[in-house]
Symmetry: C2
Subunit: 421 residues, 2 copies
Amino acid sequence: MTQPLPLLERAAAVIPNGMYGHQNVVLLPEGMPQFFDRAEGATLWDDQGRSYLDYMCGYGPNLFGYGHKEIDDAYVARMRAGDTMTGPAPVMVELAEAMTAQVSHADWAMFCKNGTDATTMAMMIARRHTGRKTIVLAAGAYHGAAPWCTPLKGGTTPEDRANQIHYIYNDAESLEEAVRKAGSDLAAIFASPIKHDTFVDQELPDPEYARRARELCDEHGALLIVDDVRAGFRIARDCSWASVGVQPDLSSWGKAIANGHPISALLGADKARMAAATIYVTGSYWFSAAPMAAAITTLRLIRETDYLERTIALGDRLRAGLDAVATRHGFGLRQTGPSQLPLIMFHEDEGFGTGYAFCSGLLQRGVYFHPWHNMFISNAMTEADIDLTLQAADDTLRDVRAGPKPGPVEKLQILAQLAAE
Amino acid sequence: MTQPLPLLERAAAVIPNGMYGHQNVVLLPEGMPQFFDRAEGATLWDDQGRSYLDYMCGYGPNLFGYGHKEIDDAYVARMRAGDTMTGPAPVMVELAEAMTAQVSHADWAMFCKNGTDATTMAMMIARRHTGRKTIVLAAGAYHGAAPWCTPLKGGTTPEDRANQIHYIYNDAESLEEAVRKAGSDLAAIFASPIKHDTFVDQELPDPEYARRARELCDEHGALLIVDDVRAGFRIARDCSWASVGVQPDLSSWGKAIANGHPISALLGADKARMAAATIYVTGSYWFSAAPMAAAITTLRLIRETDYLERTIALGDRLRAGLDAVATRHGFGLRQTGPSQLPLIMFHEDEGFGTGYAFCSGLLQRGVYFHPWHNMFISNAMTEADIDLTLQAADDTLRDVRAGPKPGPVEKLQILAQLAAE
């Protein structure tokens, strides 16, 4: 009798490289599971039945816990009544009303599927609004995976990135220099709400830089775009830049807005309404009703629960605890960004060896950490989960300290190669 | 006491133009409902509670009927177990195996959300595979709504459409001329499986043209891409060009593959696997498990039921019946394309006045037709539904014949203006 092939071999046969995109584990530490069978609250089970306390939250969507009954019930009820139809359901208007009521700069909403859809629409609307072409973006910032913005250039052309000028995040002077270079052709300034690039420390936005971005757009008649796909509703119950008192003209959303159900959104101010009304963008499932019903329930939980204060408190507890654990074992941690969006790396660990060893050790102890992408605290987590994590970190760092000093991670060179092309 | 605002006014306040994209009814005949509350089988109910026999099928996704219990149950069961997680579920591999088993040219699969995601990935993979930039496409064909392909150019730049050369669908000579122009830079030929452009008659593929496309790609080392997003599994239980004996290298899918649940796909031959493995494309919900479970059930129904023969027979019955009705009232119909993907227009109706009057009259009689976009027969329809439609058409055409001759539809000039920009 022949044995069934292992899942990874089957995947390698019918999916290029076995997997693609941000959920490909090829660049992650040894032992990170590629497939998960089940999810509940803050816990994932892989296809071998092993469970993990999950700090990635699906790379962002899980805000209120996997399988949240109230949100999922709203999805199912609307799906059973009618989901992808020949026109949208009234719930689309209700959701647009809820989003514009929630986000102070927003007068209108458009819904789509990918975060990339929303950032691409933002770019098109800015170009339509101004009649100009040049967009100014922070170097290294992630705004999606279409040819104009995907972080690796394979399969793209120089023309896909024509009309782009880069600046350094949080550096008002470099932003001014980029705007000067754009001259009379400035259509928009893109900004992430925080610097949440992979592989490097996160940075909170410097209020002076954020205000300067607003002023420069106003001076030049360009649009200010905040890409809140990843961090939206995790920093504020409003656009994340409400935290520094700056209102963009457009903001892109996704991930947490429906707790994992497939929907993204572009929100805009009245100023950009006419431009938004005269571009043609659409998708087969952009008008589907069920994810909109889930988003309305999620927004109600955002308004009515203390999820934000809770996730911040849990993140603070994790950060303080990890610092103490690391110090005890003689490691220096670089914990950056808002504590509810933690990025945790090690001092003097350019080759990520210690970070990978740390994640591998945590994984063996049932905790899923990421070595170079910001993580996410879910409202389904508890103080006991954090304490369990700290215990696992304590045990892991003791092992790492006792073992041979980890060398640089060779598989990251693959990425460096691809990025350099 | 103030009355609640009507839904359309509320929509106009919080959505640019009140609606956007292909489900915006602004260019459709008077009285076409913008919002639907409920869907079941082949029937839609608008937000006023009026019901319609729906020939648009959500613009394609509804193949086995709205609210198909078996498919939707598969979705819900997988959703409750875990949907958008930190990695895909094993069901992703099962679906890739099912799709590659079903579609004869396909050795691998990648899943995404929008049809546009799949066509964009196809373009990137062809460029990566060949190291060239030029893609050759049929003029007027719809391949999505990203800046490189959206049918209206507002918000796009000339650079977005650099490296594109157009040919005339079904015209082998014009295809050869386009390939000649591409010279040594030909990356891919795009082809719709049938000509299903809006506003003009549909055309089945001329086998000679399809074979020539294949030969030209082989001669030049370029990739042949069939965009089966709209027509996939409605013409064959394989890629639609299996019907003319031509195998593409890449094919894009969406719409019917999960009967309305949000998923699209790119399928490819081994030849293109390495290129597919070295582009970076992704999306927040591309790895979500629930739509994949729904797609697996849909694929089983595609294999095991006579849906294809049934929808063709129903389409044939509609086509023959409508011809007889039209002739009886002195109208000449242009019924083009496969009968299960009917496009129905009138002879001597350049201004679409008769077509709009026909659709309005059908709508009043509970039948939803589209005047200039191909329609879809769903397997949830019955012969009785077709006969009801023919009776409604008979009554409508008697009225149209008796009334004043309809003039050109002025609102279509808006579109002509936008398209010309």
